[in-house]
């Protein structure tokens, strides 16, 4: 299976955050492109979920789910812009 869209991150992230992060804009630390997380390319057929920049393929975020524990890395993102509803 090839990649999916950032929308698919909503389920994994909703377990952690009280707002839906997928429409949030953020800056790629690889190339500087600013895009909504929902626009990332998401690979789910892997030991964890990997979201990559649609512009440069840089890894933006990973989610590793061990059932009772979960690891979230957002090291490929800077300046995550969240809007109040």
């Amino acid at each position: 299976m090839t990649h999916l869209d950032g929308n698919v991150l909503a389920g994994a992230l909703a377990d952690i955050f009280s707002v839906d992060l997928t429409p949030a804009s953020a800056r790629c630390t690889g190339c500087g492109a600013v895009a909504q997380l929902a626009e990332a390319m998401v690979y789910t057929n892997a030991p964890g979920i990997v979201a990559r920049c649609a512009t440069c393929d840089h890894v933006l975020a990973t989610v590793v789910d061990a059932g009772d524990r979960l690891w979230l890395s957002l090291t490929g993102l800077s300046g995550i812009e969240l809007r109040r509803a």
Partner: protein
């Protein structure tokens, strides 16, 4: 709040004493991908070992093959719970690559085309336990499965068997690679079920 879903058993999971805990036997070979698949021509392919002095030891594709390709039969165990038993492989023993490399460092970071990394203790790569694999199931390794060459360390979870491997960098400490930074175990022994931190 999880409850058992009536009638659901998942993909058939067979029990076999050769399966480490929590693993399921598969007949096909699932493709996992965490990014775009790099496609590297063997004419451009190159393998590098970098030691603590910063010196590079390099092999072209033909030079790698000239070290001697051996037949391997291995069980592989993916951390996503599937295993394949007695899989035929062909590859070059990592021992051959280290014959002329001097290093005091005990750890290695494997680097791949496409940017993937994974850390492995050097002793897990030596003594006939690891290969640079170029064929599986009697066929040249498909790019989807890491071709032209992937690391093969069958006694550790399969994420350590880096696809599209391009080199090894010696390290004084066991610094974490890609998955190891993001939740997975530093060593990954399937028999000890070392899946996560």
């Amino acid at each position: 709040m999880s409850f058992v879903t009536r009638g659901f058993s998942g993909r058939a999971r067979e029990r076999d004493p050769r399966l480490p805990p929590g693993q399921t036997l598969v007949q096909d070979w699932p493709v996992l991908s965490a990014g775009p698949t790099p496609r590297i021509d063997t004419a451009e392919w190159e393998f590098v070992i970098r030691d603590e002095t910063g010196a590079d030891h390099r092999w072209s594709w033909d030079e790698l093959l000239a070290l001697g390709v051996e037949d391997i039969t291995a069980d592989i165990h993916c951390v996503t719970h599937w295993s394949k038993l007695e899989m035929p492989w062909r590859g070059v023993s990592v021992d051959k690559l280290f014959e002329n490399v001097e290093s005091q460092y005990d750890y290695v970071m494997a680097h791949s085309y496409g940017g993937y990394t994974t850390n492995v203790p050097l002793e897990d790569l030596l003594d006939g336990r690891a290969w640079i694999a170029i064929e599986a199931d009697g066929e040249p390794l498909d790019p989807e499965h890491g071709g032209p060459a992937r690391l093969l360390v069958p006694h550790l979870y399969f994420w350590k068997s880096a696809k599209w491997v391009r080199g090894l960098v010696m390290m004084p400490d066991d610094d974490p690679g890609f998955w190891e930074q993001n939740g997975y175990h530093l060593r990954g022994d399937p028999w000890k079920e070392e899946r996560y931190w």
